[in-house]
Symmetry: D2
Subunit: 348 residues, 4 copies
Amino acid sequence: MFFASDNTGPAHPEVMAALGRANEGFATPYGGDTLTAAVQARLREVFEAPRAAVYLVATGTAANALALSVLGQPWQTVFCAPHAHIQEDECNAPEFYSGGAKLTLVEGEDRIGAEALSRAIAAEQTRGVHGPQRGPVSITQATERGTVYSLAEIEAIGAVTQAHGLPLHMDGARFANALATLGCSPAEMTWKRGVDALSFGATKNGCLGVEAVILFDPAHAWEFELRRKRGAHLFSKHRYLAAQMMGYLDGDLWRRSGARANANCARLAEGLRDISGVGIAFEPQANIIFCTFARALHRRLHEAGAQYNIWDGDLDGDDPDAPLTARLVCDWSISHAEIDRFLDVLRG
Amino acid sequence: MFFASDNTGPAHPEVMAALGRANEGFATPYGGDTLTAAVQARLREVFEAPRAAVYLVATGTAANALALSVLGQPWQTVFCAPHAHIQEDECNAPEFYSGGAKLTLVEGEDRIGAEALSRAIAAEQTRGVHGPQRGPVSITQATERGTVYSLAEIEAIGAVTQAHGLPLHMDGARFANALATLGCSPAEMTWKRGVDALSFGATKNGCLGVEAVILFDPAHAWEFELRRKRGAHLFSKHRYLAAQMMGYLDGDLWRRSGARANANCARLAEGLRDISGVGIAFEPQANIIFCTFARALHRRLHEAGAQYNIWDGDLDGDDPDAPLTARLVCDWSISHAEIDRFLDVLRG
Amino acid sequence: MFFASDNTGPAHPEVMAALGRANEGFATPYGGDTLTAAVQARLREVFEAPRAAVYLVATGTAANALALSVLGQPWQTVFCAPHAHIQEDECNAPEFYSGGAKLTLVEGEDRIGAEALSRAIAAEQTRGVHGPQRGPVSITQATERGTVYSLAEIEAIGAVTQAHGLPLHMDGARFANALATLGCSPAEMTWKRGVDALSFGATKNGCLGVEAVILFDPAHAWEFELRRKRGAHLFSKHRYLAAQMMGYLDGDLWRRSGARANANCARLAEGLRDISGVGIAFEPQANIIFCTFARALHRRLHEAGAQYNIWDGDLDGDDPDAPLTARLVCDWSISHAEIDRFLDVLRG
Amino acid sequence: MFFASDNTGPAHPEVMAALGRANEGFATPYGGDTLTAAVQARLREVFEAPRAAVYLVATGTAANALALSVLGQPWQTVFCAPHAHIQEDECNAPEFYSGGAKLTLVEGEDRIGAEALSRAIAAEQTRGVHGPQRGPVSITQATERGTVYSLAEIEAIGAVTQAHGLPLHMDGARFANALATLGCSPAEMTWKRGVDALSFGATKNGCLGVEAVILFDPAHAWEFELRRKRGAHLFSKHRYLAAQMMGYLDGDLWRRSGARANANCARLAEGLRDISGVGIAFEPQANIIFCTFARALHRRLHEAGAQYNIWDGDLDGDDPDAPLTARLVCDWSISHAEIDRFLDVLRG
């Protein structure tokens, strides 16, 4: 019963198999190998973006920080949601990679709306050389709260960024989950709605550690390569990044895994809704659920071996009736049996 | 006949097997897993350094740049050899991670001597607040030219750094090769000779992509963790770094592979010495050979499928007799058959 | 009728005279001159802080950014008010000098309360290595809205910072104005209430361009000197910074000028209150007034030659009755005649 | 007898007078004042560069570091002489402002030759993404050794930079001295020979603290303004920078002072040559002399009150006959009487 995060489960066997297949003979280092070229071509196909520049790195934070660094300047501010990963969970990596840019938190929680974004952008344009200059906008799809921007919402945000000539970045650490929710094509969720650069996550959805950065406009491609090397993120044995990503794309594993995680999550949410005393905080639209129930129930689950994070308050507090909120993340690898057992323990 | 680099060969089967074994069930992310703890303990044992702080990253440049960033300050200068990897091959990563420190090139080529180091340090102490301040010293073992510092040479350098209160860093991307050459213990080649921090390479010697940073003095351990995260080098699925390193350490694979690469190199060097018209530029002490022979011979080798880098001049030049220097790197995976065939082709 | 800012008026004649007196003969450069030593000693006396490290720079932004850079680390966040100068008016200088630290905006406007600060600090301590780490707290005295923290408020903030072991910085660009309001000693408004480092402004209050940074704890003194030089803020002909500051301190010019500016502001505020249709937005406690009245009146003032900034809306809009808010800043050099004429024009 | 540096003398009375004249009434801050506009126009005239972007800062290090930061990128290397001010005397300010660029020391001492520059540039182009990328070239006119590049030498360097598409920066902290030596126009010594950006010094030649940055190509003008503000170098009471520069330009004070300092230096050099036992190290071409004589003579001069720096060795050593080298800098304000007395004391 492991619901702590989608980075705690094993890599998918198909990804491991791809890794094994890549481990034959010699290969040109630093991304000059044929497998890397094939993966780049495949991602351009998947995204219907033949001109896009495609790069692989090993962590989501690297993907986000490097992508933002080529989209903006050190004297600018990046617009994002207050609970964006780049704001809360990257220990100032975006500031580091950008050379000291600021992050402006747009009114909202895990998501930003087009109107609030417009206001935030307008507020930053009144101080000439004195204020931070307006820079990239970054949205997360799916969000840290397990919600998903609709295509219309992305389009509205893209319209704002294009009206101001600002680049739009999408943190897609859980891109496959969002895509499964919306049922659209990758292009429809990105560049067709105004997204200029994407962090295309694979680690959380079944890989060991690989993410793609896709620059739909390749103008900054060479700069990206230099920044990646300078950031120490260029792998010498690059084929092992490429192999993971190829395994992830082959046979649509990425879509299958994203859909499976979402389905797991829906099954769990359905069960939770039926249990009296359990409240669901946000509408779960991808593979994350925030749900609230009494401390005593949390303790029972933990004693039964369930692993997940308490989002607020303290498991060891005094009042057994006090409501605590859990964050439950459904990995691609979670089994129906685990979900059902979790619900059984909760039902008592 | 792949002699281009030791990052072009496959990962060792034992490393791949360790990776497979680690891919079972759930594991705490970000290095909180039991395998990571076990690897850290193992490295402390291997280095007889029970207090050392041990961290894993995926690239050698990350290991070097992060290690140096905790040893120095942005207003300091790092002393190194003119042909150090940190100077020539990391696209200013040390400058980036240090926040803008300088690198001072100590007289020499790939190595620095204690006396030249003393002079360089002395030259930097005369300008008060105006000049860059003296910072860490970094040496490479084995060097980029395939040579190895003797224990006495490291000790002499360590004596200089300690006399000035400066930290000493060792770039050990090819640590196992150097150790095989010297036949000493890891502790004898490092902290017993004054080394404060080590980049312990594993990628080049049979892993997919993993290096350890060992801080023999753990004073900056927490700072290192924050810098690693901020640099986007903290893996969420950290077990896959740990598994590679464990496979590398288990059964002394790392020592066996280093010794094997060195032996391959010695066999190749021996063969080369016996061929008239072939000159060897540096005394090969680890797994790299720089050797010079006529362009026509290089062409013959390339036509026969040999892959390696020409260190100077142009393979496509006019004069078939012009001497060109090759860099030949022996990977752990090179076979005797390949070496012998290379020599056969060269002999004509 | 120049109320645009306190950086638009002339330097005080006593400061100019001090500058002239300093322009005799030769002087050791880079702050090694006797006048600089005398100014440092004088500031230590004024602040009853014999151990303090005292430095001069030419701009308030340099004072703030350098002070914060020695108090914090690149992976930390600086807590400040949403309308702090360091957040809104320094084009990311704090981020630049800190090497990429973040700024966390504490709930409030131009000021922060101890309770809101506590909550903001608490919110940043839950994410381990992933979140930005807690760093310095910065308050502005007097604030950008012309208000002044009471001694009790500073003490409460100082209690919070000390409880968490965080350093407290005060941006005192208008320190003399605040001091005139509170009528206390410099020590009572700073280190006796927990302030660790002060930007002691002089430019706005009658100098050409000089600010002191006072580090009450001299632990980071040498680091400050290196950062100042590296930031290109160490003047070679340092006596001209020292002369300004000495002229500013001699005969308590700084206190006289601050009191005079406040008195000018009070006279203006009193007049404004008596005019029907004029509203005052914040209680003016130093030398700045925010007041609201109809666009037609603003136009009349501007036509009469009054210079000040409209804080919201557009002077050239359509509706003559629309309320617009002015920011009126009283320089030390404003005359009663100018104030009275401003009021006369406004009265019509 | 003050020959320590040209930053130890007083400001010129005409500069002080200009400062006094500027201290009347109100002026728009941050460079929006009429005096600043007039100075910018004047400098464009002086340099016959009507399109140039012209900015004022207070220190030479700020001028150099900011100029280089807009000419290059963090992943590049700046080519300069080993004894360039940017390398030796700015405590890593160029690295800080550039975001971590490297400095490559071209073979030479205080000057670089076109051929050595070509070799250095060629050496940096062989490593693709791994090595630092080629960036700006910076030369110093007059140099730190008191020598001056001829127009032909600058032209040859400019030809190299243009051939490689690299920008050329001139550190003109002693521009007026060099111009007096060459007797050409400012344009002939700069953009007509390929210089793209100039640090135009005024502080050392009679001002209190002001330097101009002249970007002959204004493409990066707005970026420069943002970097200047972010670097905390934008003065609020900007008129006091402008006033100094205007006083410096008015009536060709800058040329008169530069010529006077050079003439002082020539008088001193002539006297030194006539004294037996005194050797001159470099041909003095501007206002600096390096000369060598016995320790006993240095002691006699210091006892007589002469102030200057010993460039090598120790004044307090044992051997009175040991040769020590002095650096003698002639300020504009040095009198003939001082020079003659210095020579008299030396003659004994």
